[in-house]
């Protein structure tokens, strides 16, 4: 993925200012550095044994007060006007409610549809109404050069109009706890028809973005049954199956391991066997793994489904 990917109008606006300032900076930096080196060589003790006792030069000093001031003001003005454009959503923008919580994103569309990743039509303005359910988070889409903080008890807004089809990262930029760096999501930009098909398509409409050449969420049918169940019950929001640390302990290599758990206030060491796994899933608050928050919700599996999940976890060696 090329990183200077400009995938929205806001990206073009931001980069324009960036390149302006960057250009100026390079010119000044080279000028100053070259001058320093030149002076040090030209007026070295050997070449210039007697220093001229110069106190200053008012004219010159005025020049290098006024010139930078003017340049800085131009930077300010350019940055501000482009920002005004980036922050004022057009009237016809579709308003999506973005909710941040420790440590996930959720999106709600005007018709009440909800999703974990953000779906957006190509070339249509989308307004983000960002809020937080707990602490401060930051809603950041690098490819759109867009960022707005999610503040508890207030709604901040921003907007974008995507110019490229594809899938782009969403990251959280304000430190919000252990899994700050895993508070990720995606924007999936698709042609408008595809978006509409999903948006107006009732509950079972297929999620857009399947046509994109990207590792989109795999079809549940291709997955082991246990994994599919876990995906559907959003276990994988908190647990990884590949050893990656997340909110909850990883499930890789769990079976057969010795685990320290807190029962009430007492610390016990247990071997993870089948019964343990079942208890951990059905009554997660009874035994809490040491070093983890008591944060796991109870799952509502049928006994049969529970069997599937447990036997899947057992395969994760």
């Amino acid at each position: 993925m090329d990183w200077m990917n400009q995938a929205a109008i806001s990206a073009e606006k931001s980069d324009a200012v960036f390149f302006y300032v960057f250009g100026l900076s390079v010119v000044f930096l080279i000028f100053i550095t070259a001058l320093m080196i030149y002076f040090v060589v030209r007026y070295s003790k050997k070449r210039n044994p007697v220093a001229s006792q110069i106190d200053g030069h008012v004219g010159l000093e005025i020049v290098w007060t006024v010139v930078p001031l003017v340049l800085f003001l131009s930077i300010f003005y350019y940055g501000w006007t482009n920002y005004e454009y980036m922050s004022q959503a057009p009237r016809d923008a579709m308003a999506v409610k973005v909710t941040a919580r420790q440590w996930s994103w959720s999106f709600e569309y005007p018709n009440g549809k909800q999703s974990k990743v953000l779906f957006a039509p190509l070339g249509k303005p989308m307004k983000m109404e960002v809020r937080s359910a707990d602490v401060v988070h930051g809603f950041f889409i690098p490819s759109f050069r867009l960022k707005i903080d999610a503040m508890p008890s207030r709604t901040n807004t921003t907007w974008f109009q995507a110019t490229k089809v594809g899938s782009f990262d969403i990251q959280c930029t304000v430190i919000c706890g252990v899994d700050h760096s895993l508070m990720l999501s995606k924007v999936i930009v698709v042609p408008e028809e595809e978006f509409k098909a999903w948006y107006f398509g009732g509950e079972n409409a297929p999620e857009p973005g399947k046509t994109l050449p990207l590792p989109a969420t795999p079809d549940p049918k291709d997955l082991p049954r246990g994994l599919a169940l876990m995906t559907a019950n959003s276990c994988l929001d908190c647990h990884s199956v590949d050893g990656k640390p997340m909110v909850g302990p990883t499930l890789l290599g769990l079976y057969g391991k010795q685990q320290q758990v807190l029962v009430g206030a007492t610390l016990k060491t247990m071997i993870v066997d089948e019964a343990y796994l079942r208890r951990a899933i059905t009554n997660p608050m009874d035994e809490v793994v040491r070093g983890y928050p008591p944060a796991m919700p109870e799952a509502s599996f049928t006994p049969q489904e529970l069997d599937e999940v447990v036997s899947y976890i057992k395969t994760l060696k």
């Binding site: 990183w3 931001s14 324009a16 200012v17 960036f18 300032v21 900076s25 000044f28 930096l29 550095t33 001058l35 320093m36 002076f39 040090v40 007026y43 070295s44 003790k45 210039n48 044994p49 007697v50 220093a51 001229s52 006792q53 110069i54 106190d55 030069h57 000093e61 290098w64 007060t65 001031l69 800085f72 003001l73 930077i75 300010f76 350019y78 940055g79 501000w80 482009n82 920002y83 980036m86 707990d134 602490v135 401060v136 950041f140 690098p142 960022k147 503040m151 508890p152 990262d169 990251q171 930029t173 430190i175 706890g177 252990v178 899994d179 700050h180 760096s181 990656k244 640390p245 070093g291």
Partner: protein, 539 residues
């Protein structure tokens, strides 16, 4: 010249009173000894934080399977930030070189309140010890970042209260130093030392002291509120009780932006001392530099909300603060141009302090110019809270303040210890330092442009290559650093004896013996001309 005074009085390093050894040092009210106490204690904390920085880089070498847990990583950058800011760059130059040289530069025997001065050091140490304690007690090391943003800092189970209390105490230390310096400059200037005959370091310290007085109490009250909030739930920052997290951010940055000028102004002062000495000519535009120090202090207090551009402030505030941010960059620009012009038609004696001073100018320019980028609204919404910011502030704080501190240390080293270091070793250490520095921190800025957020334990795969490059850079940097401090430590114990005036400087510290005697001057000098008045050589 070098012998007439040396025989008269013993140096300040020799115990003259009834107390001896460590006790004499710990109860001293001599400004020079207090300066060294600060130096030694700061060095210690500083190397702890450098070590942490090194570990943080190692963590970023891998994408998933890590040495340490996410919780530990969060604690690491918090502790790294807190130590570096509150125990190192904020007190740094004023506490070390300000204490040591301010009285000498204005021709005084000591500061106005010597006992208060010692008390400040004890406050500093108390704060430092509490900060260290906060790592091991309560719920463990704080994990909020050095900014302690509410409401996360109110909710987290880690030991934020103690860490915040430590910062509170350190604030007191900083304020007391400020009070001392202002009074000293007003009251103890030698006869004939008019305001515009003071060396520029004094102007820098004077403006710094004003920021310390006018901004630090805001931090104190903000942190006190966080503590009250955690213990009694008074609800001023807690949205659940009607409080407002944005108010916290405002109050925090009202202090913490001016604090960055507390860090850089004395550094700029030191540079303004070094350049004339090695160019053998007066500084270009003395008054412009003096006034720009004061105006940085003034305008610098008015730009704090540029750290909050994405927090949802009003449009008016966004515009105003972006504008003011641009204006505060002007006095810095003036200084840079004046420094460069000071080299013009000088007779340049190239020595290690000058090399580091020029390195300062280069790195500070990069840091400053990226600061201006961040101040432009349209760019800020992209790079805020990314590694770009991390790159920016390491350029200004380490490349700026840190390099200036090195330069000042090299410049005044012979005066402080009466020994001379090996210049070759210092030149040699410069190369890995310079290369490593730019690899590390320029790499971070590229990462930021790519969209890598800061304070991230794991990173997405597309950032991996750059992370590896920056980590390797940090190894070079630390290598250079070890060589540098190795050379200086060696010199303290085994170095050759230094002359009283090895660089041919003309400010007052070079008129007294190295190391200086207890009360600096046998007789308070009478000043008749500006600070950088070089005799015309060969006349």
């Amino acid at each position: 010249m070098s012998t007439h005074a040396a025989t008269a009085q013993p140096s300040y390093l020799v115990d003259t009173g009834t107390r001896k050894g460590l006790v004499a040092w710990l109860t001293t009210t001599d400004h020079k000894r207090i300066g060294l106490l600060y130096l030694y204690s700061m060095m210690t904390f500083f190397f702890v934080a450098v070590g942490i920085g090194f570990v943080m880089r190692l963590v970023q070498l891998t994408t998933f399977q890590k040495l340490i847990t996410a919780q530990t990583y969060n604690a690491l950058f918090t502790v790294h930030g807190v130590i570096m800011i509150f125990l190192f760059v904020v007190p740094g130059l004023p506490a070390i070189f300000g204490n040591f040289f301010l009285p000498i530069l204005i021709g005084a025997k000591d500061v106005s309140f010597p006992r208060l001065n010692l008390a400040s050091w004890y406050f500093f140490m108390a704060g430092a010890i509490l900060a260290v304690l906060s790592l091991f007690t309560g719920g463990g090391a704080p994990d909020t970042g050095w900014t302690f943003y509410a409401p996360f800092s109110l909710k987290t189970g880690t030991n934020v209260s103690l860490a915040v209390f430590a910062a509170f105490i350190l604030g007191f230390s900083s304020m007391l130093t400020g009070i001392n310096f202002i009074t000293t400059i007003h009251r103890l200037r030698a006869p004939g030392m008019q305001w515009f005959r003071m060396p520029l370091m004094c102007w820098a310290l004077y403006s710094t002291a004003w920021i310390q007085l006018l901004a630090t109490p805001i931090l104190a009250i903000t942190l006190a509120l966080v503590i009250l909030e955690r213990f009694f739930g008074i609800g001023i920052f807690d949205p659940a009780k009607g409080g407002d997290p944005l108010l916290y951010q405002h109050l925090f940055w009202i202090y913490s932006h001016p604090a960055v000028y507390i860090m850089i102004l004395p550094a700029m002062g030191a540079i303004s001392e070094i350049l004339p000495t090695f160019a053998k000519r007066p500084i270009f535009g003395y008054k412009a530099i003096a006034f720009s120090s004061m105006s940085i202090a003034g305008v610098g207090s008015l730009v704090w909300a540029h750290h909050m551009f994405t927090s949802g402030m009003s449009g008016t505030a966004l515009m105003l603060f972006s504008l003011l941010t641009m204006i505060v960059a002007v006095p810095s620009a003036i200084k840079v141009f004046n420094w460069v012009s000071t080299l013009y038609k000088g007779s340049i004696d190239f020595q290690p302090p000058l090399l580091f001073a020029l390195t300062f100018i280069f790195l500070f320019c990069i840091g400053g110019l990226t600061g201006v980028m961040q101040g432009a609204l349209a760019i800020n919404v992209h790079i805020h809270d990314t590694y770009f910011i991390v790159g920016h502030f390491h350029y200004v704080m380490f490349g700026g303040t840190g390099m200036a501190l090195f330069a000042a240390l090299l410049y005044w080293f012979p005066k402080m210890w009466g020994k001379m270091y090996s210049k070759k070793a210092i030149y040699l250490s410069w190369f890995p330092m310079f290369i490593g520095f730019n690899m590390l921190y320029f790499g971070m800025m590229i990462l930021g442009m790519m969209g890598m957020p800061r304070r991230y334990y794991v990173h997405l795969p597309q950032f991996h290559t750059m992370h590896v490059i920056t980590t390797v850079g940090s190894w070079f940097l630390i290598l250079g650093l070890l060589m540098f401090f190795g050379a200086l430590l060696y010199a303290i114990f085994k170095g050759e004896k230094a002359e009283d005036n090895p660089w041919g400087g003309v400010t007052l510290e070079w008129t007294i013996p190295s190391p200086p005697p207890l009360e600096n001057f046998e007789e308070i000098p009478t000043i008749t001309r500006g600070p950088y008045h070089f005799e015309q050589e060969g006349k």
